[in-house]
């Protein structure tokens, strides 16, 4: 659709408004609403007082949906803690379709590899709108082809938490997969055959959704103990199904540190920068992404802390088994876990009192009274592409099609004292440093350095960091110099051709629009 467009402070054309999304504010700087003066008023929604019940278990999923009052045109949410094994999105949308419900807005915390089914529900008109952090496969293609009724809204984890609290994202019914649940709806992700660790996204949706359904295949005797992640007073109904997901794809083994020499080289350089920054000291806080070179940075950090006897304060984020091991070794005092990246974490979250389960607002919502990322010292993040202004794209592939996730990327980059982007200089022969990223997700003003295996570029805003890095003998280059060096190997690829039609918007964590996503022809 043709929309009224304006340029935001990154020079990106973004819509001033869109049907179904109302008025939209253009991005005006990462900290524009964080100077202590910005005010917001939560929208109020009517709630129904449920009749007292001593058993919330409904006879079937269909009956649960009927009792929830879900109707065509409403918004449903899901969490993505079941990783690539999730079956609940498909189960619920299938049941809704059988009940004749159509035109749903889907608002999961994210979508992954197990959610190609959503493209089918879109084709059949069961789902027509989408809010998410990330997409893969068929759903990404469907967005890029412009098949949703309104522009798809991509939010960061912190931004989604904020939107829900504000009421700009109103969830009518939340269907929350529960690896363990009792008859009154107390639930947790830290036990059961589909145990997934933290339920940080579910905790937030449960607090704000109009109606909350726990979907479980593991109804345990009341009361669920010893750990309750989402308590019963937030839950309306319990739906018992045969299976909420494929345990083999949920209970994935520990995420392994890469052995790819390119990724290890990137991690080694990134670690060199962490050291040079002077932040890796007693009491520091640390976060990495869940894979590739960013996770490999943890290996170097771990070896260094052990060797030098440095003890950190805490790690946050997506937590891997690797971080859980570092907690066990006493290298940190605590882990704040909003989402467990692998099943190796489950034992730790269930058994280690210093492994704390936190909700996503606590993790990254920029509008609350102090989210965890605000105090973070060091974060190592991944990227699909970066550009000469240090903007980062974690959403679009080289063909222009959506295939990534905003996740906590922009939240942690904005919060951390040192935000390092680790990225291979090229993938499949295509260079990773571009003149302009296709889709800006994390603004360059929040990125301190970009580290590739061929050297690192440091944001000109951080002359102090550049000096420290050079003094440490690290290969610091200008971003254009690094780009040119890579292009000597790869050449400069042709730009992907897009139409003018806006098929999605990327909302920055503060609710402003940082970029728009266009249809790929």
């Amino acid at each position: 659709m043709k929309l009224d467009m304006t340029q935001n402070s990154l020079g990106r054309l973004v819509p001033r408004g869109a049907p179904g999304l109302g008025e939209l504010a253009p991005f005006a700087g990462a900290y524009a609403r964080l100077d202590g003066t910005y005010e917001w008023t939560p929208r109020a929604f009517p709630r129904r007082v449920p009749a007292p019940s001593s058993d919330k278990v409904a006879p079937s999923l269909e009956e649960t949906i009927r009792r929830s009052g879900l109707d065509s045109g409403m918004t449903v949410s899901f969490h993505h803690h079941l990783r690539n094994g999730d079956a609940v999105v498909d189960l619920v949308l299938g049941a809704a379709e059988r009940l004749g419900i159509r035109n749903l807005t889907l608002a999961p915390s994210s979508l992954g590899d197990s959610h190609d089914c959503v493209a089918e529900y879109l084709r059949r008109g069961v789902v027509t709108r989408l809010n998410t952090s990330g997409v893969r496969g068929e759903v990404g293609k469907a967005i890029s082809q412009g098949r949703f009724e309104a522009p798809v809204v991509i939010r960061s984890h912190g931004g989604r938490a904020r939107a829900i609290e504000e009421g700009s994202l109103r969830i009518d019914v939340a269907f929350l997969a529960a690896p363990a649940c009792d008859r009154l709806g107390n639930m947790t992700g830290s036990s059961g055959k589909t145990a997934c660790g933290s339920l940080g996204y579910a905790m937030h949706d449960a607090r704000y959704a109009g109606h909350v359904v726990a979907v479980t295949d593991n109804l345990v005797p009341y009361p669920l103990a010893p750990r309750i992640s989402v308590p019963q007073h937030l839950v309306d109904q319990v739906a018992v199904v045969d299976s909420i997901g494929d345990p083999s794809r949920i209970a994935t083994g520990a995420t392994r540190i890469s052995r790819d020499p390119v990724q290890l080289r990137i991690a080694e350089l990134a670690f060199g920068l962490v050291r040079a920054s002077g932040l890796l000291v007693e009491g520091c806080s640390f976060q990495t992404g869940g894979g590739g070179p960013s996770l490999a940075v943890a290996r170097y950090v771990r070896d260094y802390m052990k060797e030098k006897g440095v003890k950190g304060s805490y790690c946050i984020g997506g937590i891997t088994g690797y971080m859980a091991d570092m907690l066990k070794e006493g290298l940190f005092d605590a882990l704040f876990d909003v989402q467990s990246f692998d099943a190796a974490v489950t034992g730790s979250i269930a058994g280690n009192p210093r492994h704390l389960e936190v909700d996503v607002s606590c993790y990254a919502n920029p509008f609350n009274k102090g989210c965890l990322v605000n105090d973070l010292d060091i974060v190592a993040l991944a990227a699909l592409d970066v550009d000469v202004d240090f903007n980062v794209d974690v959403l679009t592939g080289h063909d222009g099609v959506l295939r990534g996730a905003s996740g906590g990327h922009s939240d942690t980059a904005a919060g951390a004292k040192l935000a390092i982007i680790t990225v291979p200089s090229m993938r499949n022969g295509v260079p990773s440093i571009r003149e302009r990223v296709q889709t800006a997700v994390t603004p360059g003003e929040t990125v301190d350095a970009i580290v590739t295996e061929r050297g690192m570029a440091i944001n000109p805003r951080r002359e102090d960091l550049a000096r420290a890095a050079r003094a440490a003998g690290l290969p610091v280059k200008g971003i254009r110099e690094l780009k040119a060096e890579i292009e000597r190997v790869t050449g400069v690829p042709d730009e992907v051709r897009f139409s003018d039609e806006v098929v999605g918007i990327v909302e920055y964590r503060d609710g402003t629009i940082i970029d728009s996503i266009r249809r790929v022809d």
Binding site: P261, L264, R265, G473, E485
Partner: protein, 302 residues
């Protein structure tokens, strides 16, 4: 010191084999951290791929920036049909050196030298600019080590081909490598006798980094300048083995400092910690300082 007269002061602690038919690895030669790369046209390449690998390596030498990494190409042996074609295609791309496998006698080196010199002349390249590393891989080669080392001014180093030698000897190579001790020492002594560098053979168990560390330490103690690697993960282990300890570094600094002061006083005799220090000890200390610098240790100027 201790780099040979022809080494140009280049570090050669680690030389990493890169299959000549693997563009993904070749394009990253500059980032593995190795002092040099051995772009392999020989054992890593199947017969059907020899031509393609040769062309790929030539293009890589011409087009890619290897940073400060030394570029050595291991060609096929003199008795193969690929020998002359390898040199004809690779020499014009000006690698730093050719690694010549299965050198049994001085004549093997001289034949390569003649071909390289001819190509250099035809192409107007500076004569003698491209070095030869000779691989000694048979019992006969070990017996001829001295005459091989003396064969040509183009030689920069000798290296041991441990697996082929074990096969030739009909013995089983073990992790400890004791069975190759004589051959290793023979290569080192022949090399040093003629001002060349000596390189140790590969360690094939790529998951056994502890075993590699032991073998690299042994190589250093026997007098090798460096060791070949067959996986990037081996490079930092080899470098660590070649790095002196803090204590060794302190001692070396004291020796070099004392020697300098003695020189200024024009006094020949120096003692450090009550022990006499003579020229060989000073040379050893200089070598320690060089290895410390290569290892990225902080070395104050003595």
């Amino acid at each position: 010191m201790m780099s040979s007269p022809r080494s140009g002061g280049r570090p050669r602690r680690s030389l990493l084999y890169i299959p000549g038919n693997n563009p993904g690895m070749i394009q990253n030669c500059a980032i593995y951290g190795a002092d040099g790369v051995l772009l392999d046209l020989e054992d890593a390449i199947a017969l059907a791929e020899k031509d393609a690998a040769r062309a790929l390596v030539r293009h890589a030498l011409e087009a890619l920036d290897f940073g400060g990494v030394e570029r050595v190409v291991r060609i096929n042996a003199r008795d193969t049909p690929f020998f002359a074609a390898d040199l004809a295609e690779i020499i014009p791309a000006r690698p730093d050196a050719i690694r010549l496998p299965k050198v049994d006698s001085a004549e093997d080196v001289l034949e390569a030298d003649r071909l390289i010199s001819r190509i250099e002349a035809e192409r107007g390249l500076p004569p003698g600019g491209i070095g030869i590393q000779a691989m000694l891989e048979t019992a006969r080669a070990i017996v001829n080590a001295a005459s091989i080392a003396a064969a040509s001014p183009r030689l920069v180093g000798l290296t041991l081909g441990g697996q082929d030698l074990a096969a030739d000897l009909g013995i089983k190579a073990t992790a400890g490598g004791l069975e190759l001790l004589y051959a290793k020492s023979a290569v080192v002594i022949a090399a040093k006798a003629f001002g060349l560098e000596a390189f140790d053979t590969v360690y094939t168990a790529i998951d056994d980094l502890a075993g590699l560390a032991e073998q690299a330490a042994l190589a250093l103690s026997l007098g090798f300048s460096g060791k070949a690697a067959i996986h990037p993960s081996q490079v930092p282990v080899i470098h660590a083995a070649f790095a002196p300890t803090e204590k060794e570094l302190r001692k070396a600094l004291a020796v070099v400092k004392a020697a300098r002061e003695a020189e200024e006083r024009r006094s020949g005799v120096v003692a450090v910690d009550g022990k006499m220090v003579d020229a060989p000890v000073v040379a050893q200390a200089e070598r320690t300082l060089e290895l410390a610098r290569l290892a990225g240790m902080e070395v104050p100027s003595a």
